[in-house]
Symmetry: C2
Subunit: 575 residues, 2 copies
Amino acid sequence: MKIVVVGGVAGGASTAARARRLDESAEIIVLEKDQYVSYANCGLPYHVGKVIEDRDKLLVQTPERLKQSLNLDVRTGHEVTAIDREQKTVTVRAIATGETYQETYDKLVLSLGANPIRPPLPGIDHPKIHVLRNIPDMDAILATLGQGASRAIVVGGGYIGVEVAENLVHRGLQVDLLEMMGQIMATLDPEMARDLQYHLEDHGVQVHLQTAAQSFEDDGGRIRTQLSNGETITADLVVMAVGVRPNTALATDCGLPVGPRGGLQTDKHMRTIDPDIYAVGDMVETENFVTGDAMLAALAGPANRQGRIAADNIFGHGSQYRDTQGTAIVKIFDMAGGGTGASERSLQRANIPYRKVYLHPSSHASYYPGSSTLHLKVLFSPAEGKLLGAQVVGFDGVDKRIDVFATAMRAGMTVFDLEHLELSYAPPFGSAKDPANMAGFLGANLLRGDVHFWYPDDYPEKTQIGTLLDVRTPREFEEWHIPGAVHLPLNQVRDRYAEIPSHSPIFVYCRSGFRSYLAYRILVQSGFSHVSTLAGGLLTYSCFYQTPYSTGTAHYPAIAHAEDQMAEKVLSQTV
Amino acid sequence: MKIVVVGGVAGGASTAARARRLDESAEIIVLEKDQYVSYANCGLPYHVGKVIEDRDKLLVQTPERLKQSLNLDVRTGHEVTAIDREQKTVTVRAIATGETYQETYDKLVLSLGANPIRPPLPGIDHPKIHVLRNIPDMDAILATLGQGASRAIVVGGGYIGVEVAENLVHRGLQVDLLEMMGQIMATLDPEMARDLQYHLEDHGVQVHLQTAAQSFEDDGGRIRTQLSNGETITADLVVMAVGVRPNTALATDCGLPVGPRGGLQTDKHMRTIDPDIYAVGDMVETENFVTGDAMLAALAGPANRQGRIAADNIFGHGSQYRDTQGTAIVKIFDMAGGGTGASERSLQRANIPYRKVYLHPSSHASYYPGSSTLHLKVLFSPAEGKLLGAQVVGFDGVDKRIDVFATAMRAGMTVFDLEHLELSYAPPFGSAKDPANMAGFLGANLLRGDVHFWYPDDYPEKTQIGTLLDVRTPREFEEWHIPGAVHLPLNQVRDRYAEIPSHSPIFVYCRSGFRSYLAYRILVQSGFSHVSTLAGGLLTYSCFYQTPYSTGTAHYPAIAHAEDQMAEKVLSQTV
């Protein structure tokens, strides 16, 4: 068996390594056009920022070591220029010498990745306009920084963009981040991305939403960038992080079809329509686990697993790829944010009905040092409560909750199942009722009809036909309240509910949604028929509208009184 | 509806709060014999250590606040002395006045917890011998510390014992910890508890295994403790943390039955044999999710959920408790350790067949700062690979992995499902192949017959009939190897395997098990028929036998060469 793998990073390296373990006698050739194989591409931004000081740490493997340990024939600087499916050969060009040769294969595995998009804007070829996908890209950015740089523009507010922005701040630069959409981190819903944006801004990154770069011009070695909003910024370097495009040219040239999203099509065995050609990683389309739609996921985890699956199938193990959840996370300075499954936006696009809850639990027992407030949004099906998506943002324990939701979703669990999860608890790590349990309680309450929510976008149109009822403490109400709200503290609701007009709907709210839920229960059982409680309270509301609570960090804003905050936290711990 | 809840901490407080939300009109009385309700009992050791500085932070609730927010009639200092099931009344004694009265109920909920065991040893009543279960216990320990204390004995190496030991070290005391068994943390298997013990010792705690306290004697205000090994230690205080016993006397007095483990019996609705009496929390027995055996789990999470379920059922919601996995975690200084499901010991006891894997992955990408080595043990069924138990020990990301395993196990997942989990990855948080995926790969390889393991307890009896083959680097081999081992570095196995005797079994090993797995694959495919690889490598082996790698921390021991370590880590990242 002779296996030729084209592309020696995540997916390709995994394929080759697994293939060797499955078959000691196979001839395995890895052709990589760049000089580096199996390097830590997710670490690139962090070496730019000197968080990872040693460049060598990123160079996970060398051809020599892969030869020694896995008997792989790794040829860097060798580019495949054509595939002959009839003859089962590839044409290879040794870049250093220009020499061209044919290599035969029994099985061919394509792992060509994706190319960073460089939009065809005037001046885009300026030598200090960079992308960041591979080691040479990183070295180029470092070289530009080495020439002395004090200001940078990052174009694109996705994973790479925000990671690069953070790391340029670590290098002492003033950073402007341009994002065409109305939010950064478009895989999250906008209200969940808001705190991450604030946190970037807290650390000095100037975030320009709904703003594109229109053209670039050299200005004495610097770059003058014209923005779509009319502004001009002159910077020492620009990093384009506006997305990637699957690298499918080689595959389509030999007649392999791409799917609706532009990625190469494979079956669940990672086999293309040619039974002797497999494809893995960022260049392929997969099926979305939730919506069933074709999707492009430039994610390291799926790429690695797909490589393993391709090798399995080459040797007759029938393993199958189980669709993509899109589980992802980003660190932004001290915060983290991410999610799994579908966002609300993608459910709407796919016309999938859903319900949603928001919550703001402590990352761990609030009496133990270091806890902070998490922001969670969980989406689930209206009928059986099946998990469709979850997003988590905060300072502590974010990755853990995403992974619990990702595992639960993969297992087909419902919000009713979340209620019963038995997760590890000690005060430094969680709460007796973990945020995942709490999400289950809320979702199950909703589906059982024990609660009705109103949402920030019901304001003001829907809320103006009824009573907007603030059940926080007098101090909190005085500080700030939603314009038009009537005040009745939770502790007085039982005695004074007769004062509330009963002929029209009541829209209750508090800080996080817990006290208003208690008020909701009191009112409904006292005979009020149209009551709803603000999902996620003002903490979620403030992600939609500018309020005094919208500034600063995801910690409870300094403006609020510590006692009130503690009283509510404490109350919610006896849910 | 009149509900009387006996016991106002975790389970009882949850029952009362949930009951109020479900029914605004119910009369809800909470009777608590102590002065405190709904306090943070899991935080007690940390206030002893001043990690939680403010005592008030532990006092989560007061009767007044519970009255205001939830309209609960909470009576502290009121002890229930008898239950009359016929009349549906309880006899209550107001401790302050000695006054006794009857209280009727429609539904009675018992949440009496468990009592710390004080074994009847000579001198056990010394005023400086403490337990730690509630606020008065904590205050008593603090009072003793306040009198000046430099040395303490902690009896019992379970969760409370090690937390107390750590916190007494924080207070500057010299601490001896006595444990009757051959390991601390008996819910973990011994080899998984070993690193936690070393870490305690690294922080100055003197751990005495297989050692009991036999008697106590006053020595001028101090306590002279006679140990079972003949030693004597004189200390300023003793904390007994040898376990708890369900507080069932009140229940059994009125004819409610206890189960085989001594906890009160309920159905899955948390209802006792009396349809009007429910019981929740540490005083009840539940069914073990894995073994089906009756179990006592003094855990906050289950207690809180049971309270909620009891309230649900009082009001006709049919919710059911879904058995106990025993998910738990402990922090010991900088380390954490815990698990979910059954231990190997408990599977053996229950006669449940199982297979097991050990692994030592990085907590997150090893090139990103702050990563460290995790120690994982995963148990699963031999036929379908269903998860039966998982244990995780390390410095970083321990709680996350336990929770992923707990969720996967709850969902009935197999090792084959773990392979496909799509977990959140960015270098600060994980790896493209997360430890949970890696555990799945190993388990699936084992069940598919792609690998055979040998285990440390096969040494030396089984291994002496064959060749013990060390495939580490020459440097590593020279440093230390298992006595009797033959050396053949992985990189030379392909060229030199003919030197290995082929007529007898080969027992391969390396540091973590990864290189030996590669060697295993080479050898098996080169015609050797009896090959096995040491599960978990020397890192696991060193938890069974004293080796130079056994000392210090769970980080790769300083004695090993950094390059070899990195080479292996790097290799395993291209699994």
